[in-house]
Amino acid sequence: MTAELVRPATLPRLALRGPLDDWAERLAALPPGLSAAPDATLQQLAVRVDPASPGARAVEALVGARLPGPSSCSTSPDGVDVVWLGPDEWLVLAPAARPVPVVALADAVLASGGTVVDVSAQRTTLRLRGEHVPDLLRGGCAVDLHPGVFDPGTAVQTSIAQIGVLLVARAPGGGDVMLVVRSTFAGALADWVLDAATEHLEDAEHLEDAEHPDTTPDAQEPS
């Protein structure tokens, strides 16, 4: 082990770090026509409630958006997304600045036999934007991204290269999509996006070697 463990003078206050912090630099250097912005700050709540129950209406009132049907997403005026995950299951994603009152929400669904669990760290998000995004996604995802089929309001759970991903459409045709992925798979998804971007590089010269660039820092040997 390289550095001997030493106790610093002052202990820094606990700070939030996203699963993709170590990829930020590389994701920022994607070719034109393709940008990828990680965001691990969203409050995320797993809500289970009978869609026909009073609890469901209470959730809609508190969140300010209706509980959408299959493969759909509704968004409140404050930018809170509610995504369908299953017949009685939704994922609420709220900006860090405008969180949803968790306790109130939990109480609202309790009477209807519902459940609310804070899962803000269970998944993280990667916002893909640009003209190359549909082509990039079609390189690993079987979902139809055609305008009219994949428009804002659509949210589809599927997989990309063995990685479970939730696609939330932000613009028709897949040019602006929020990917929601399990935190421990986020690095693997980012590696996949970086590798897929090779196709859209302006010039190939700076491609160090044609083998897949080893983006993972964890070489087996001690560094």
Binding site: L5, P19, S120, R138, A161, G187, A188, L189, E211
Partner: protein
Amino acid sequence: MAERIEGRGRLDRSRTLRFTFDGREFTGHPGDTLASALLAADELAVARSSARGRPRGVLAAGAEEPNALVQVEHPFPDPMQLATTLELFDGLVARGLAGRGRLADVPDPARYDTRHAHADVVVVGAGPAGLVAALTAARAGARVVLVDENPEPGGFLLGTDDVLDDRPALEWVAAARAELATHEDVLHLQRTTAVGSYDDGLVLALEKRTDHLGAAAPRNLARQRVWRVRARHVVTATGAYERPVVFRDNDRPGVLLASSARTYLHRYGVLAGRDVVVFTCDDAAYAAALDLAAAGAAVRVLDARPAAPAAWASRCTAAGVPVRAAVVVTGTLGTDRVEGVRVADITGGAVGTGGELACDLLLVSGGWNPAVQLFSQSGGALRYDTELGGFVPAAPLPTVHVAGAARGELGLGQALRDGERSAVDVLTALGLPAPASSLPRPPRGPERSPGLLLWRVPQDGDGTEEFVDLQRDATVADVRRAVGAGLRSVEHVKRYTTIGTAHDQGRTSGVITSGLVAELLGRTVADLGVTKYRPPTVPVAFAAFAGRNRGDLYDPVRRTAVHAWHVEHGAVFEDVGMWKRPRYYPRRRPDGTTEDMDTAVLRECAAVRTGVGILDGSTLGGISVHGPDAGEFLDLMYTNVMSSLKVGSVRYGVMCGVDGTVLDDGTVLRRGEEEFLVSTTTGAAAKVLDWMEEWLQTEWPHLHVHLTSVTDQWAVFPVVGPLSRAVVGEFAPGVDVANDAFPFMTWRATEVDDVPVLLSRVSFSGELAYEVMVDSRYAAAVWERLVAIGAPHGITPYGTETMHVLRAEKGYPIIGQDTDGTVTPHDLGLGWAVSRKKVDFVGKRSFSRPANLDPARRQLVGLLPLEAGVLVPEGSQLVAAAEIPPPPVPMLGFVTSSYRSAALGRTFALALVAGGRARIGEQAYAVVDGRTVAVEITSSVLVDPEGARRDG
């Protein structure tokens, strides 16, 4: 002799491409294939036959070519290319193959990828039928994908001088291509071959994106791409392959299919011979005869039918092309190339006296085999069309349609009408209005007269020189021998003779073989059928199907939130499922050398037992179980009672399969009346969640329970060792960490810097331990703070290897290492965790089967080698005696875990031993490299059996 002629071909003659074939330099032009460039240089022989070493030349112009298999050496070794489909590029180095290709011995630098596409209809083939089908559908607003194997659309039109609306047909093709480009919902892919047609409109197609650029191909572009087109309807407009006729020495270079010679003329500007004999049973060969004559060749036509078709005969007469009917070719003359043919009259199937004709090119046409591969792969049934002498779709499938020559509709006019008809069928099924018909007008050609069914020219001789499958060197003699040996099925004949097993999958030999077998057995071809069509239709590189799933992307790498810290601190990792887990942290010594694993692990173990260690346990599964029936549900899933667990407490649980074998184990925290937090082993996390969901959804939907995966929500850091209390106490000042305030198997919730933290007194090492659980976004910060606080106490990060040693010293089993799918809780000595009170739980009934009550079942015990320092390898078998008798030797059991123990100052192991608990105190022998190592069977708990260390 074959040569390039002026004024013909779709080549860019302004640019010259240099290439090397069989060590000799040649030139060609963009638009050439390797085959056309070789023909232009009069190089007829391209390979030696695989078994008999006979010279072989190009027979065809496309994927049906049986002979011209070439090995590409530059830009990169490629063992399987067809000269007839390999687009020429500058700097190509290739050589003829005698059947076996050579793989490169260095990794392939090229990239490969895949693309998904969706359409209302996918059209395969951009010939006249396919282009019309695509245009008709596009005009109706349907989403269309059109794929075609050639560099440019047109199909067979590329190889003819046909006209449409009195203009060259290729002008209509260009207009069609341009119009398709205006439709936003049309994806038109050339150089893309449909290789498979699967269920529900899935068509797989391989796009060659940069092969034609050779070494100039941009390295960042995928060389080849697998398209996965999911369409509601499929239209296969794949045309038909011309069929040869079998006769003696039909394999000599200089024998071409009639339509292929026409293609070499019109598409590549190559006149394949100056003195041409055309031997045909079908009208189509006449067009080839007339075109080659018009290009300056001396051509004569031999028609095997009793009478030549009048219209074509008169055209030949006008062009000075002599036509002779009721005549067959019985053999070719010459050495390495055709110099002449033997001919003979044929009346009523009987061959009369013969003569010889000099020629330098022999064109052959035995009729047409519709390309039904994709239709057949989709499950479509085939029907033998006696007039055509080939198999056609018996009836269309609901979503797979066939248009044009692919279903026997030969001729340009039929192809155009059938393409439109297939599109209208699709649009009708889709509920879209069909656009007005606007087909181009084909010229009024002669009516097609019936072809003659002639698989083989009747002639004596043993048939050893009459070739049926040129690539496999399989002859009429082989077919006769197969039938003579008792084989009746064409599948048997194929395997016996190897006919149809090469790269061309029997395109020119399959139907002929069925014809020959039918004649030998006196049965009909319809009755015999043909061998099964299977994907892919053309060979596809392994790497193309692998796509980008290579290297680190072969399988996702799963990382905990503290991964970067582990890397910076020199962790050596281990693969656990998809996870990378630190196995140990080798320290660099002052002299610059680095600890080996054993040294590092002994240090880490000693630190945990005497000071304080910290482990990244975030890979453990976490499931939040909510609802009024949560307790009842967990009682059904676990062997022990969970519903009695008090809020604030933790309980260890074992979970079994229905067959009573251990599926997983872990701890359960009760966080509220209706809320439990379940932890699982790393390996079983996904499996346990699925297992619980399966029971809830399909057996007990009446239970009000909700499951939520929180594996990635919570990071889990065991802080372990006598000094752990001090470290955790300082880290979480809001919690009284003293033993009586915070006893074993309880948990406390607190906050650190306003971040919610759970602490639980769970120990997997027998030491005083606190598991620190936090939102994984704060995990890195919490880990660093714990390490900072612990530094003065000598806190030591430890990996999975040390964790294994510590838990094994306490006899705690690891599911998946100390179990193998046949082990029950009782076998592991976990009978105490199996409730006797509960009426039922998953697996309980299996415990009372005879096999489960057998005292000889293997049970988990400890082992101490009599020689204290000997490390018995994990997996070693255990036998009863020091001397190993001759096999089969009865085995008592095997070693599941084996380590050096800092605490014991010696090696020890755990093992599953038949009737193990009753043997404690006895000796057994571990077999290591053929010799025995004496071991004493002990209790499985070797360190601190009384549990004194647990509370610090």
